[in-house]
């Protein structure tokens, strides 16, 4: 068995262990909260017997350890339980909104990281010039501006003033997409996606841009960059193949971890634009004490985060030969 496989197996093991710890913590947090977890589900008018039947139905009459074992077993089978609020399986509820979150997140991430990397290279290149100072102030502004505020400004301009883009949701009132594919092929969907994605990109832009810029400045002082110039390599080639190629490695890690954050962290934007995504679902789950749903959503977000970290490691080893997981080439 070669080293690469060994590494993958080791890393997968680590991931599973992390997820198991997270699942365990989640289980106990929800169980140890004061009050009966079924409060949200049980109507006060239910009789004692009816309540007990329900408790039995949800397995809450068993000991905590027994519940835990069943919970882990279900988790392994991909079973996340029933949502109290939606009266449907958690998997179903989540999978209805998850695609929306993914579309929003990926669009915004791709825009933000592309613009950020290019902008970072540009600002580093213009080091010490007026445009650099302006660029930095502007970037800090986009990073500091609250998301809801940016969202509202964009809505005010593009939606209410000029009526170019719709103000919320994923589809026009009264219409429903027949399938995910139908949604992705529909022009309407992209018109709805535009403003929330732009708002999120503006917020995400700062990190890759500033990170790229400062990495560029470090790398441009490296002696291999100076040597490339002495070898007569053209300015633009030095900038891209030597400086940027080395500077963007840490940005990749930031991006992979950023995906994890963006999964669950879009509550504000999803609310401003009435975007039916995971963030809003999570808020609803918490506010209605729908703990199986909250638990499921948290596990999913944690899973994505852990997995993206793994992806970042793999990407890094592909992009930087020094971190290769094999000892030889």
């Amino acid at each position: 068995m070669n080293l690469r496989w060994k590494y993958l197996i080791k890393r997968t093991g680590q991931m599973l262990l992390t997820l198991w710890i997270i699942a365990t913590i989640l289980f106990f947090i929800f169980r140890l909260m004061p009050g009966n977890p079924l409060v949200a589900y049980i109507d006060p008018t239910f009789t004692e017997e009816q309540q007990e039947i329900l408790m039995k139905q949800f397995g809450l009459d068993k000991s905590l350890w027994m519940q835990y074992i069943i919970y882990i077993k279900n988790l392994f089978q991909g079973e996340l339980g029933q949502s109290f609020f939606f009266k449907d399986s958690v998997i179903n509820v989540i999978s209805k909104v998850l695609p929306n979150t993914i579309y929003l997140m990926l669009t915004a991430l791709i825009i933000a990281y592309t613009a950020g990397i290019v902008g970072g290279i540009f600002l580093a290149w213009k080091r010490g010039e007026m445009i650099e100072s302006v660029g930095i102030v502007f970037t800090l502004f986009t990073r500091a501006a609250p998301q809801f505020w940016v969202g509202m400004i964009l809505l005010a301009i593009f939606s209410f003033q000029f009526d170019i883009f719709p103000s919320g949701g994923v589809s026009q009132a009264g219409t429903v997409y027949s399938s995910e594919l139908d949604k992705l092929l529909s022009f309407q969907f992209y018109r709805h996606l535009f403003l929330p994605a732009l708002t999120l990109s503006i917020y995400l832009l700062g990190l890759p841009l500033l990170l790229m810029r400062s990495n560029m400045l470090d790398v441009m002082d490296e002696s291999y960059v100076e040597m490339a110039k002495i070898r007569g390599v053209s300015k633009i080639r030095v900038l891209v193949k030597y400086a940027a190629r080395n500077a963007f490695l840490p940005v990749i890690t930031a991006m992979a971890v950023g995906i994890g954050y963006a999964m669950g962290g879009n509550v504000v934007i999803e609310t401003v634009f009435s975007w039916p995504g995971l963030g809003r679902l999570l808020v609803k789950a918490v506010s209605t004490s729908d703990y199986p749903l909250a638990q499921g959503a948290f596990i999913l977000i944690a899973g994505v985060m852990v997995f993206m970290n793994f992806v970042a490691d793999i990407l890094y080893s592909l992009l930087d030969p020094r971190v290769n997981i094999d000892s030889k080439r």
Binding site: M227, R231, G232, S234, K235, P321, R322, K328
Partner: protein, 337 residues
């Protein structure tokens, strides 16, 4: 024929505290297929000189004056594009930090092919063959070409960088402290190879070093630099055997000599002057055991003492006596008190 003629070259740095005159009017001449050792302690302007020659300088550096005549063209008059044509094809460099001079994310082969593609009309296959030949020449297995820089040891990297410097068959190679970071055995091997390659390929060499013993092994000519100026220059064996400048005498004392195991190592006390506002007179005067009042007032010119030997010191009589004195520890210790 003269290959490189540097005339009154000045390279200054603009700093917040004023202008640092790191290289302040140096002149030297390098004949075709000759080798010149540029020797001096850290901070004397050796590396700045190199950067000025190839015109790859930090943003705050500038060349206020001087000429760099290379094959009868003044490099300082060329624009960036013309200069890029000369870089590496005519003048290449083995840098001070060979360890970090290769791009870590590309294989060594890739970096060979890059320079050859940029400059030559050679096919990829021919380029690869040349890289292999050069690797063999510097004593590296050609298989190593496909490796990444971090997979090389320090000595291997240094050899690879030398091979890379030879890639386009340049007329002039500048080596900046080429062996400083290596252990003595590898140092010796690499110097020997460098000398052999230079003779075999008929390449001129400028070797920058603080280690006078390295120059003794490799160079025909020596120029001694101190605080941004050349204080002595001439044929290597003459400068080493009959130094004219007290600084050169001091330098020779401060390196061990395996042929004289009992030789005492004597260091030159004090440190070089700062170059933002250098003192009037001779820049070495404060550290010089033989300095007189006039040394602090009038700056000595670099003048011809005999046929090929130049010195920038007013003491040109009783040299034998001075050389003898310079070998005594007390002579140098006296200066500090």
């Amino acid at each position: 024929m003269s290959l490189l003629k540097v005339e009154d070259l000045k390279v200054y740095y603009e700093t917040t505290r004023g202008t640092n005159k790191a290289v302040d009017g140096i002149s030297f001449n390098l004949e075709e297929s000759q080798s010149l050792g540029l020797v001096g302690e850290s901070g004397c302007g050796k590396s700045t000189t190199v950067k000025g020659l190839v015109r790859v300088m930090s943003k705050n550096a500038f060349i206020p004056d001087g000429k760099v005549m290379f094959k009868d063209r003044n490099l300082l008059d060329l624009n960036e594009k013309e200069m890029n044509k000369i870089r590496w094809s005519d003048i290449s460099l083995v840098p001070q930090a060979a360890m970090d001079s290769l791009n870590p994310v590309y294989t060594v082969k890739n970096q060979f092919l890059e320079v050859m593609k940029l400059k030559g009309e050679m096919s990829k296959k021919a380029s690869l063959n040349r890289a292999k030949t050069l690797f063999k020449k510097v004593g590296l297995n050609e298989e190593l070409l496909g490796y990444y820089p971090h997979q090389f040891s320090g000595g291997m990297k240094q050899r690879a960088v030398i091979a890379l410097a030879l890639a386009l068959n340049p007329n002039l190679i500048i080596t900046d402290e080429p062996v400083t970071a290596l252990d003595v055995i590898v140092q010796h091997q690499i110097l020997k190879e460098l000398k052999g390659l230079r003779e075999e390929l008929n390449i001129s060499l400028i070797m920058i070093t603080h280690d006078i013993s390295v120059v003794a092994q490799t160079c025909d000519q020596i120029a001694i630099m101190y605080a941004g100026k050349i204080v002595e220059k001439g044929p290597a064996n003459e400068v080493l055997k009959k130094p004219l400048h007290p600084y050169t005498m001091g330098l020779e004392n401060s390196f061990p000599d395996i042929t004289k195991p009992n030789k005492k190592l004597i260091s030159i006390e004090g440190s070089p002057p700062e170059l933002i506002s250098p003192p009037a007179g001779c820049r070495f005067a404060v550290r010089c055991p033989f300095s007189e009042d006039i040394c602090f007032k009038k700056e000595p010119e670099l003048i011809k003492i005999n046929e090929k030997h130049y010195s920038a010191c007013i003491h040109q009589k009783n040299l034998e006596e001075l050389r003898a004195k310079s070998r005594e520890v007390e002579t140098w210790q006296k200066v500090v008190s």
